[in-house]
Symmetry: C2
Subunit: 357 residues, 2 copies
């Protein structure tokens, strides 16, 4: 493959055209130089700037990075990108990146440690200044790759014992859900969580169970099916199979909660009445489906994670942050509220639709 020499104008071209050295050009054009006027006469500055403009000069970030060992890029690892939750977090990260003129390199890891370490190395090859991991696993030591290279890292969404993280107050979220259900008179509670290594589910379940026990209720049943629609359906089927349908349900994701209520309703348990349901993340879906849900401030969570990483890169000491959560009550838990798409009657049967075309 032949070298396609870049067509971009360089500082050298400007220097030649203006009749100064590249050094001077560099000093004037470097946006991080606080006092360009210290380095050249007003006249020179003018002509350099003008030449840069007419040539359409843009600095080559790669060359700068190679020289300065700072790339103005950060890596972002997400467990899976095709999910609302992570997309919202990433939107917050992207917003801060834009504000600071930083580029984000992204990669998803599907929560597979092998994949993650491979991609981490690859990302470090690009000399990212720091990395944000949204896919931390509790207790795991996979982050050594990044640590060994002394690249600062911040976790977001899921915490890990040994690293700085920005998470929602998941324990509070769990308590909030339980207290809400209890305040509605619910007594047989259940919670659907994800896998053990995800602090989100673990912590929310902890708070949920604590609050239930403090209220003198029997311990909530924990279903660890996950947080997808399918997971919710599976969990519901498990409840039905064990003839142990709760009257208060908390799911780790709005979709999972909806998947569960959908199945339960088909078996005669009316959402909002027979069973009060609370989802997580207060996503648009929750609104569209009148699902009570706990907002986790995902966008802001993303923002803070990059802000913290940048603080760290700027030399500051940083510590983990726990962001407040909020409860939005809708008809899925309180039937006295208006509702659009939730129902109360009993409907027979259950399939997943039919495909055409």
């Amino acid at each position: 493959m032949p070298i396609r020499v870049s067509q971009r104008p360089t500082q050298r071209q400007i220097a030649a055209q203006v009749g100064v050295s590249v050094t001077t050009v560099s000093r004037i054009l470097n946006p991080d130089e606080p006092h360009p006027e210290r380095w050249a006469s007003q006249e020179t500055i003018e002509s350099i700037r003008k030449a840069a403009h007419t040539l359409g000069y843009r600095r080559n970030s790669l060359a700068v990075s190679l020289r300065t060992s700072r790339s103005q890029t950060v890596g972002v690892f997400l467990p899976s990108i095709g999910d609302y939750t992570l997309a919202a977090i990433f939107a917050g990260i992207d917003e801060v990146a834009r504000e600071y003129g930083i580029m984000a390199l992204t990669a998803s890891t599907l929560d597979a440690p092998g994949l993650r370490s491979d991609r981490t190395l690859k990302m470090l090859d690009h000399l990212v200044d720091g990395i944000i991991f949204a896919d931390a696993h509790l207790g795991e030591q996979y982050l050594s790759g990044a640590e060994a290279q002394r690249v600062p890292l911040v976790l977001v969404h899921r915490r890990h014992e040994e690293h700085v993280s920005v998470t929602a107050d998941d324990v509070a979220a769990g308590r909030l859900a339980a207290e809400h259900l209890i305040s509605l008179g619910r007594t047989r509670l259940a919670v659907i969580v994800g896998r053990r290594f995800m602090s989100t589910g673990v912590d929310r379940a902890t708070g949920f169970i604590q609050a239930a026990e403090e209220a003198g209720l029997e311990k909530p049943v924990v279903y660890d099916h996950g947080f997808t629609v399918q997971a919710g359906r599976d969990a519901a089927l498990a409840m039905l199979g064990r003839d142990n349908v709760p009257d208060g349900l908390f799911g780790m994701h709005d979709l999972c909660t909806l998947g569960a209520t959908s199945v339960l309703r088909q078996h005669g348990y009316a959402t909002g009445e027979d069973i009060a349901a609370v989802g997580s993340y207060d996503s648009p879906v929750a609104w569209a489906c009148d699902l009570t849900s706990i907002g986790m401030g995902l966008h802001n969570m993303g923002r803070r994670s990059l802000e913290l990483l940048l603080d760290r890169l700027g030399g500051k000491e940083i510590t983990s942050e726990t962001l407040p959560v909020s409860l939005t009550v809708r008809a899925s838990s309180d039937p006295s509220l208006p509702r659009g798409d939730l129902t109360w009657g009993t409907i027979p049967g259950a399939t997943n639709g039919t495909n055409h075309n």
Copy 2:
């Protein structure tokens, strides 16, 4: 800010340790070199590889890029990242990127041309080999920034007259939706689209209207409120306000469709009975809410867009692709199918819940 010389081992260190020149090390360690054995004795190769391994050598991608003018990175522009649609497309792109060992730089543009051109320039500063735009605007000439630099680009999701794109067969999607509704005996059709510059909505509306007119129905009413939950609610209110509620509805997004049916239901129009609704993208939400929807193959769309870009970078000629769509029928259009969360009765009132904590 002091230069923090990178702690990573370099080819020079390996060369010194093994007692050969960096040239030889480079030749052996370069993964793109088809025949390393052509360049050194088996013995030398062994010791270089061994030294590289023990030192934990990894090549500096930035240095390689600077030298070769190929960065093995691509830029990805999304209108907004916090949406299921784009997240699904991006997941496909990410998958291909992983397969080819390419890094993706991402940025969202919020469909704002100014923001996009700024960020495009910034991305080009990082010498991306190519760019994928998921935020094309019909008729706009904003892509000049990338073109001027002769950086190959591919559009995804939304098409544009002058560029290669990978899109769903949106016209077919519109026809499919209309034909389905018509086959159910619906005659007063409506469609909720996004803004004019989005080919997705424009094309789907075109197909939808065509099919309706070919069937001899009166022309469907077009509501251009957008594709969010709020947009759906607004469109529904507009229908109610004009006393012109359709019996068949097609929305550009599952969430938008759900937002509309939610409001309509609160005003006495039962989903699946009084009004048959079809959404777009067949997202998990559609499944969870028993919403009939048109699948657009988003993941594959993302995959193809990067594959095409890589073909282009490899020197091939590439042309636009239109991917097939599919209809999944659920209770929102066909009440004979089982349903979980959709309803038929009438519910009074309408708010957006209350906030606590």
